[in-house]
């Protein structure tokens, strides 16, 4: 097994924003008939990411910080392969396990167990592999008999437990976490932290977008500061957080 790598070179991600009019056939057809150039160029574009250069190797634990809309989530999705860069290159090698939107890929009408199975299958596991892991996941999530209940009866925290249980059980090589896993209680958080740490040590890369300094300090050692769709700074966690927040956050956390 080769080590997981993430290499991104000069990548950019541009979103075309089709409003109801420009997304319609009418414009494309009429535009052509009128002898104009394609409508494509007239579509407004949001430059979600640009000039992204990044190289992550095994053992990287990267914190993604930045204001809302700075491009953290888009960068995570670029790393996961959901978005292929509009320009440049993004080469990701290794088994990716993303925890982005917790509601997606989960069916509220079926039981927790079935949802575990579906999640696992989506992440490239086989049915057999998932069946052998179910007990482990059940123990980790501490959901017990609840796993036989439909997912709609779960609280947000319970859903986070389930999602984390699945991704941490399948031995991913690249773990991508978006904010939102803060909904669980402190005790479970500590447990999840240990498991995530273990996982990163064993094999892999962790990229974690969060606004919680405490959580970042526990899991990451380097950080990327995103601003307006570019990487403003990439370096040791302490420095980057210091520059981003304007004061030495980690030192303050230690003092507490």
């Amino acid at each position: 097994m080769t080590d997981p790598t993430i290499d991104i070179r000069d990548a950019r991600v541009d979103f075309p924003i089709f409003d109801a009019k420009s997304r319609s056939l009418k414009k494309a057809v009429l535009g052509k008939a009128g002898g104009r150039i394609g409508t494509e160029s007239k579509v407004p574009i949001i430059e979600a990411l640009r000039d992204i250069n990044l190289s992550l190797r095994k053992g990287a634990r990267v914190a993604l910080v930045g204001h809302n809309g700075a491009g953290k989530s888009t960068l995570l999705r670029l790393m996961s392969g959901i978005y292929e860069p509009t320009r440049g290159q993004a080469v990701v090698q290794g088994k990716v396990a993303p925890v982005f939107d917790l509601a997606v890929g989960m069916d509220p009408e079926i039981t927790g167990l079935d949802n575990i199975l579906i999640r696992g299958l989506f992440l490239g596991m086989t049915k057999k592999q998932m069946e052998s892991r179910v007990d482990d996941i059940a123990a980790f999530t501490e959901l017990g008999d609840y796993l036989d209940m439909p997912l709609r009866t779960y609280s947000t925290g319970m859903r986070v437990r389930l999602a984390l249980g699945v991704v941490t059980s399948i031995d991913p090589e690249i773990l991508l976490l978006d904010e939102g896993i803060g909904a669980v209680d402190a005790q479970f958080l500590a447990k999840a932290r240990d498991r995530l740490n273990e996982l990163v040590e064993r094999s892999g890369i962790l990229v974690f977008a969060s606004h919680s300094d405490e959580f970042l300090a526990d899991l990451c050692d380097t950080a990327i500061w995103m601003e307006h769709g570019t990487i403003r700074e990439h370096g040791p966690l302490r420095e980057v957080l210091h520059h981003y927040k304007g004061h030495d956050v980690l030192a303050e956390l230690e003092r507490r």
Binding site: D7, R9, F15, P16, F18, A20, R23, S24, L25, K26, A28, D51, I52, N53, L54, S55, L56, R57, K58, G59, A60, R61, V62, R77, S80, G81, I82, Y83, E84, P85, Q89, V91, Q93, V96, P98, F100, D101, A103, V104, G105, D107, E109, I110, L117, I118, L121, F122, G124, T126, K127, I205, T222, T230, I231, E233, H234, G235, P236
Partner: protein, 291 residues
């Protein structure tokens, strides 16, 4: 200014070339998508079943409703149109039911196909998975619907025996060809409709029109017997759906097989897949941006 460091915190070796990977618009990536999706068949197989169960959750008869509603519609239409066209109910009812059975499959692929990526927007934007996964899931779901509806055909064949022989086995390859075509239709209309959101309503009204243009509730042969309309009836041959219906309906009703229909279907299959593959190659990576 972007500062790049490696995991260890040192400066990156910028000179090291990236592994040579095919770009987003390459045949390799398009075929990879298709084969990777195929490998995840336990997933789409499961999801396809789930879709059906979901629709009839908490109902007593469950998916049996698919067969029942199909039987009700086929019987009502068979009796009504049989009376209108003065047909013998013994042959006309199975004729309508079989046509409707096949039509439901085709219609499902076309109608739901145009919504395939739009409906799975959440999954596409939040879980990395091959696009073809959604296509396989949809076609599989249509196959399952078909399997439920076949029960109606079996019952009708028992009530009104037809001269089914060895040639009836041609129904199997015919259905396989239909499924194959469901694949390209879904890919093509799915990608186009994701980009141009007017397509689903256009497709919806067109399929309704095509239903009446296709000999399902009326008999093509009967029209040709009538010299007054025989000439105009030939226009129906221009309708590609007719050929798809015929290749499967003929063996299912024990009729002689008309190879002309197979040739037309063969050509459409090849051309359709070629166009869909080009579309897949060029726009596969864009779908995540468009949904």
């Amino acid at each position: 200014m972007a500062v790049t460091v490696t995991a260890e915190g040192g400066p990156a070796e910028q000179a090291r070339p990236l592994p040579d990977v095919p770009g987003p618009r390459s045949w390799t990536r398009a075929f990879d998508d298709l084969s990777q999706g195929w490998r995840q068949r336990s997933l789409w197989g499961y999801l396809g079943w789930q879709d059906i169960k979901q629709r009839y959750r908490r109902s007593v008869l469950g998916p049996l409703w698919i067969s029942i509603s199909m039987a009700v519609i086929a019987t009502a239409m068979g009796i009504l149109y049989g009376a209108l066209f003065n047909e013998d109910i013994k042959t006309f009812l199975p004729y309508v039911a079989t046509g409707l059975l096949i039509w439901n499959f085709i219609q499902g692929c076309i109608l739901e196909g145009s919504e395939v990526f739009i409906a799975n927007e959440g999954l596409i934007r939040f879980l990395p998975a091959p696009l073809s996964l959604h296509v396989y899931r949809l076609v599989w779901r249509q196959v399952l619907f078909f399997a439920h509806n076949v029960i109606v055909w079996v019952i009708l064949m028992i009530i009104f025996p037809h001269p089914l022989g060895w040639m009836s086995l041609m129904a199997l390859p015919a259905f396989a060809v239909l499924v194959l075509n469901g694949g390209w239709i879904t890919i093509l209309s799915g990608i186009l409709a994701t980009r141009f959101r007017d397509i689903p309503p256009i497709v919806a009204s067109l399929t309704q029109l095509v239903f009446f243009m296709t000999p399902i509730v009326w008999s093509y042969d009967r029209l040709q017997e009538n010299p007054a309309v025989a000439e105009r009836a030939r226009i129906a041959e221009l309708n590609p759906v007719l050929h798809f219906i015929e290749i499967l309906r003929e063996p299912m009703l024990g009729d002689a097989i008309t190879w002309r229909h197979w040739i037309v279907v063969g050509v459409i299959t090849v051309v359709g897949w070629a166009v869909a593959l080009v579309c897949m190659r060029n726009y596969r990576a864009r779908v995540a941006y468009w949904v």
